[in-house]
């Protein structure tokens, strides 16, 4: 979910930069050097996975997967997503430099929220793992769409309808992301459960 260059107003751009900088600082602080390498390689898989076309009806959608990144990296999602978006901005021109902050916040803040949401649900009831994964995937996209819509509306009220449509267009993606994230999480839990508890090591 990228907002393009040239759309947003100055206050939104600068607030985005400030929040992204703060989140990234927290994330970097929580990552040890060893985990930095790991986060970099996970960011690479996030980058690759987000290029995959998933069929939906007659067309296809791109996954966002910020929920998975949140579950795996916690606050580390901020630097990891910032990194992936920087490479996308420089090499693909998805997004751009001025919107880097806003786009990072749009994806990473929901990722961090879902990290805690997932953890709370699973800690409460371990058998809810799949459900918690579904919730993390769905909520991460829901919040991202909401934040993208807010960024648009705060920039210019004329974007109101466009923002609504953007949100509604992401509704099917939310469900697909929920399913994919739930399956991903249960896969990792079955095969390599230590991965889901990355954050405890820091």
């Amino acid at each position: 979910m990228h907002i393009s260059e040239g759309v947003l107003a100055a206050p939104v751009l600068f607030s985005g930069l400030a929040v992204a900088a703060a989140g990234t600082a927290i994330g970097l602080k929580k990552l040890s050097l060893e985990q930095t390498g790991r986060a970099g390689i996970l960011a690479a898989s996030f980058f690759v996975a987000s290029l995959i076309h998933i069929p939906f009806g007659p067309g296809s959608v791109h996954l966002i997967l910020n929920g998975v990144v949140g579950v795996l990296l916690g606050w580390g999602a901020f630097p990891a997503i910032l990194t992936a978006l920087t490479l996308q901005a420089v090499l693909f021109h998805y997004g751009g430099l001025t919107v880097l902050g806003v786009n990072t916040v749009i994806m990473a803040l929901p990722a961090v929220v879902c990290h805690y949401l997932f953890r709370a649900l699973v800690r409460h009831r371990p058998q809810w793992l799949t459900g918690a994964g579904f919730a993390a995937g769905l909520v991460a996209v829901l919040l991202a769409a909401l934040m993208a819509a807010l960024a648009l509306v705060f920039s210019d009220e004329s974007f109101l309808e466009a923002a609504w449509m953007l949100g509604v267009a992401h509704f099917p993606v939310m469900v697909i992301e929920g399913v994919v994230t739930a399956t991903c999480v249960s896969f990792l839990n079955r095969v390599h459960p230590a991965l889901l508890h990355l954050e405890k090591e820091s």
Partner: protein
Amino acid sequence: MLPEPLPLPDSPFRRIDPRLRIVTAVLFSFAVALASEWAALGAGFGCAWLAIILCGLSPWRVLKRIAPAFGFILFLWAVLPLTVPGPALLRLGPLPLSAPGIALAGGITLKAAAILPAITLLIGTLPVATIGHALQRLRVPEKLVYLLLFCYRYIFVIEEEYRRLERAARLRSFRPGTNLHTYRTYAYLIAMLFLRAALRADQVHRAMLCRGFHGRFHTLEEIRFRATDRYWALALAIPPGIVTALQWLLLHP
């Protein structure tokens, strides 16, 4: 296909300090993104494409590079003229297309058409390794720089892994559709990528330890600010300067 930096023909421009190019890209992006006057936007647009031609980069290749970014802008063109209130400029059958809507969409398009080629020219032609070093010298936190370099390095390895797995699925008669089986299959492929990434990260860390890594990255100093870079700094300040000056003068006549 994963993106590689665009090759830039050799010229004095190619040899300037990469930090200058990154800083210019940021300044120019903000100058244009924050401008609102048509003349300022037009000047930004002109500067970007003129620079591309002067540096010997094919405008057609740049256009092809940045084309995907216009998907979002196309969406705005489809929505804004119909939804932004205001007097109709045109009519599309029974639908009035509002003047402020068209102006808004047009302004955004012009901004993107100025900023994106500038980023392509200034940063999109730099090897990612060089970008990393330049960022480090620009005091971007070391961990973040290494995150970026690791990410770029392993994108190619992971994409290759994905392609092989996806091919294996296809050979076993997997045909993607809108159904649970498809989504589950993609989720498995993706989970496999994340799993392998994590396991590889452990090995990479071990390999680093074996080569004497003890918590600090050292770099081969390569970036130097030469005497001629001072003149380049002045030259590169012109486009963002023009855009900002025009914007300011037109707003405060």
